[in-house]
């Protein structure tokens, strides 16, 4: 059995597999990159070659253009590839469309790099599958016991209730362009909201792509167009990138009400600081309960923690008799949700 550190280690470029000669989610251009999902802090342009799921490759193409990498290879979920004697398998991570965990195995040692993940239901992507492993590399975006995400359907119900209560106000929901925006739209459709949903220009291509990939989003329309008669009526729902909700952009609409769909909205001060009137606690990252349950599910004896609040999760592992250490990887954003 080889030591985990010899199978995967952190380098300034990112998580490196010396045996396989590849990096996972590198933050700088490298010869060979394996990418978990399309969020910008994980999927960067300029690598020699990229191995990722078809959806992740499509998303990178949409964001960076055709020449985003020298060569691309499509990974099939559940199919094992041999890379210089290292067995590599992609498994669904339940984070956004196309998101995957990457299992790396050689000489009887298996490490799973989960990328970003969640366990709660999401109609826009395949659910997370726990993979047994020796070392589990977990994200820690919401790794404090105060983060418990409520049922997302209940949050969407609150949005619809506010719309009933303030029918003259345009509800502008801040949501990250990849994943969260489409999930909020899909949840609204599940809650039988059939009206046109208006979207900010920055969301258009990705929503079109989700539709093409088989995620039905119902009637969508651009929120800002030349002809004023096509403008969203009072009381419409507009989905926009988070930066737009308290911006000039939002002030053109009828009596805008700022909402924000994010796991950070669990903390009142976070909502207050951003001027959010209707916080919706909807997250594409695992909450504390999901993080700790997932660590148990993988039966890993050792946990590497990255991408957020490492110290609390490391503490939890210690209390529960698991070896754990923070994995210091540069370049991931705390706020990436």
């Amino acid at each position: 059995m080889i030591r985990p550190h010899d199978l995967l280690r952190s380098r300034p470029e990112g998580l490196f597999c010396p045996g396989g000669g590849f990096y996972i989610d590198p933050v700088r251009p490298v010869e060979r990159a394996l990418i978990t999902h399309g969020h910008a802090d994980h999927a960067r342009a300029g690598h020699g070659s990229v191995l990722a799921t078809r959806e992740t490759l499509d998303i990178m193409r949409i964001r960076y253009g055709e020449g985003f990498a020298g060569a691309v290879q499509e990974a099939q979920l559940g199919e094992t590839l041999n890379m210089n004697g290292v067995r590599v398998t992609f498994h669904p991570a339940g984070h956004v469309l196309g998101s995957a965990q990457i299992s790396v195995e050689t000489g009887g040692t298996r490490i799973v790099a989960s990328g970003d993940y969640k366990r709660s239901r999401d109609p826009t992507c395949a659910p997370f599958e726990p993979i047994r492993c020796d070392v589990f590399i977990t994200e820690a975006t919401f790794a404090l016991p105060v983060f418990t995400h409520p049922d997302a359907a209940g949050e969407v119900a609150r949005l619809l209730r506010s719309l009933e209560q303030f029918p003259e106000r345009t509800h502008i929901v801040g949501a990250y362009a990849l994943g969260k925006a489409q999930r909020v739209i899909a949840l609204l459709r599940e809650a039988d909201y059939d009206d046109t949903i208006y979207i900010h220009g920055a969301l258009e291509k990705l929503c079109t792509y989700y539709e093409a990939a088989g995620v039905s989003l119902g009637p969508l329309q651009a929120a800002t167009v030349e002809q004023s008669d096509a403008a969203p009526p009072a009381g419409a729902i507009i989905i926009a990138p988070p930066a737009a909700i308290d911006d000039r952009w939002s002030r053109r609409f009828s009596d805008p009400l700022a909402s924000f769909a994010s796991g950070w909205m669990r903390i009142r001060q976070r909502a207050r600081q951003r001027g959010v009137e209707l916080p919706l606690i909807i997250s594409d990252h695992a909450d504390w309960t999901e993080l700790t349950a997932t660590i148990r599910d993988t039966q890993a004896a050792e946990v590497w923690v990255t991408h957020g609040r490492e110290e609390a999760l490391v503490r939890w592992c210690e209390i529960n008799g698991l070896a754990a250490r923070p994995l210091h990887l540069a370049g991931y954003e705390d706020e990436a949700e």
Binding site: L144, P150, Q165, V276, E277, R309, A312
Partner: protein, 539 residues
């Protein structure tokens, strides 16, 4: 409980007064008795649970959660109640979650020794948001930007009655307000105000604008000095004595010296001042020694005695005098005050005048430094609740003053660099039902060191956002600090968003007592622009 928790969560993040009103009226309309009444009581500070102490919560949570994980969490969240509500182990929102009325009942019945068990059992049954509301309710820290005044306004809109009707009834009512809601929903008679010595809604004035005076015949108005204290209502009935602020808050507790002297039957409207009316009238800063205090020391009572300078008589014995014209009320007032202890009550003198010119001269040369202008009162007008346009005007003396709301604060320089000492203030503009604040000037002097410390603390406690050395301070219709700003003059300015530039603005005093929605509007300043100035600066 969960509906109340949701209401609190939304109220605290809803800046507009109208939005808050709608949240409240919807809550009253959709939540049954007795929960809605306890909700109302919680919002208006009508519930008190002395057995529950914040320190107890810490102990409870540390028995259940790893202290290191708790410390990381508390450090991140920053608020104890919120941290406890989120970290408390248990499933969210159980089907058997207790109702608000049940929470209130259990909390009020508990003894100090049982309190931890009772509180823990409550928290076990609630969602994180419900736990937060329960903790805030239990420890008396519901700060959601709803004043008692706003809650009364919401009741008035809910029942489609005048807010003055609610104010008049208010002090005779108690949680869960079942009879009040029945009346507001047309399902029962109007509750009789059984309480003795109720609050009677106060009559307020408009600032006089230059255009107003030529249209008025001087002989139809009486004038009185406008004293620089706080407006109060002193009422006594069958041995029950109450001192109310002009928004109906009961402030009796802070003024035992005055209460003791209220040996009469009736209701007086007047100015609360410090001193002895026969010898000495103290300044507003003297009076501030007596404001916002829970306990009053013997030395305080001796050094800063308070008295009322009486303006009006609303009831004499059992007789309601409010419908009488001003002149008749004034005669009754004169004989009423004559019978009262002269160290605690005196009459606000009238100012005789024949022309506006003559009154203006008197206004600019008042006989006493604690006078801030004159009041004009129409001789034939009854005492009307609210702020009717026409019967009463205030005409302040120079320098010009305006009541503005603190919007931003910036760190000072030199020895003040550790304090927020440069203040940007604004006045209301836009539609009356949903106004916004527009900045009209900056001031960085006019306050004492003690006041600087108070404002600095206020700024830190009420910061909404920071940009470098500047903090924006919470300022909306129901929350904020009103400052009286004095200035030498006004000019039109295209550089300022308000269209107005102030000359030598300075803080003339802090109006901790004044609700923000009573701060001045931009129109008041516009009416003071140069043409108006010329007439007023004749001193």
């Amino acid at each position: 409980m969960e509906r109340f928790a949701e209401l609190l969560d939304r109220l605290v993040l809803t800046p507009s007064r109208n939005g808050k009103l709608r949240l409240l009226t919807d809550y009253f309309a959709s939540v049954p008795d007795p929960d809605r009444g306890f909700g109302l009581a919680g919002l208006t500070g009508g519930l008190d649970f002395p057995a529950i102490k914040p320190a107890m919560l810490r102990t409870l949570v540390e028995e259940r959660v790893d202290p290191v994980l708790f410390a990381y969490s508390y450090d991140y969240v920053g608020d104890l109640a919120e941290t406890v509500s989120l970290i408390w182990p248990g499933e969210a929102g159980r089907a058997d979650a207790p109702a608000l009325s049940e929470v209130v009942e259990r909390l009020s019945r508990t003894s100090r020794s049982e309190a931890p068990t009772v509180m823990a059992r409550l928290l076990d049954g609630l969602s994180p948001s419900g736990r937060f509301a329960a903790i805030k309710l239990a420890t008396g820290g519901l700060r959601v930007g709803v004043s008692a005044r706003l809650a009364k306004q919401a009741l008035a809109s809910f029942g489609d009655v005048e807010v003055q009707e609610i104010e008049e009834l208010w002090h005779g009512l108690s949680p869960p307000f079942t009879a009040l809601f029945a009346w507001l929903e047309d399902k029962g008679p109007k509750p009789e105000n059984a309480a003795k010595a109720p609050f009677r809604p106060v009559m307020l004035s408009h600032a006089v604008a230059e255009a107003d005076l030529p249209a008025i015949e001087p002989a139809t108005y009486a004038a009185e000095w406008k004293w620089d204290g706080i407006r109060v209502q002193a009422t006594a009935e069958d041995g029950v004595r109450r001192l109310y602020s002009r928004t109906g808050d009961d402030i009796s507790g802070a003024f035992p010296d005055l209460m003791e002297a209220m040996d009469f039957e009736g209701t007086l409207d007047g100015e609360l001042l410090v001193g002895d009316p026969r010898e000495r009238t103290g300044t507003f800063s003297d009076l501030q020694q007596r404001l916002n205090r829970k306990t009053v020391s013997r030395a305080m009572l001796a050094n800063y005695p308070v008295f009322i300078r009486c303006y009006d008589l609303l009831a004499s014995g059992a007789r309601d005098t409010r419908a009488l014209p001003y002149t008749e009320r004034r005669e009754l007032l004169e004989s009423f005050v004559r019978e009262l202890p002269p160290d605690r009550f005196d009459l606000s003198p009238t100012v005789s005048f024949r022309s506006w010119q003559e009154l203006d001269e008197k206004r600019c040369n008042p006989p006493h430094p604690v006078i801030e202008g004159v009041m004009l009162k129409k001789k034939d007008s009854p005492y009307l609740p609210g702020r009717p346009k026409g019967p009463w005007f205030k005409w302040k003396r120079d320098p010009f003053t305006v009541d503005a709301v603190l919007m931003y604060a910036q760190r000072g320089h030199g020895k003040r660099s550790s304090f927020y000492s440069d203040y940007t203030f604004g006045v209301w503009t836009g539609p009356a039902e949903d106004p916004t604040l527009v900045p009209v000037g900056k001031a960085y002097f006019g306050f004492t060191d003690e006041e600087l410390r108070q404002i600095d603390k206020y700024v830190r406690d009420n910061t909404v956002e920071r940009f470098g050395p500047v903090r924006s301070v919470r300022a909306d219709r129901s929350h904020g600090l009103v400052i009286e700003v004095a200035f030498e003059g006004l000019a039109r300015s295209s550089r300022h968003k308000s269209g107005i530039a102030m000359r030598f603005p300075r803080i003339s005093r802090l109006r901790w007592d004044k609700p923000t929605h009573e701060a001045d509007r931009l129109e008041t300043l516009e009416a003071m622009l140069p043409t108006a100035m010329a007439a007023a600066s004749g001193k």
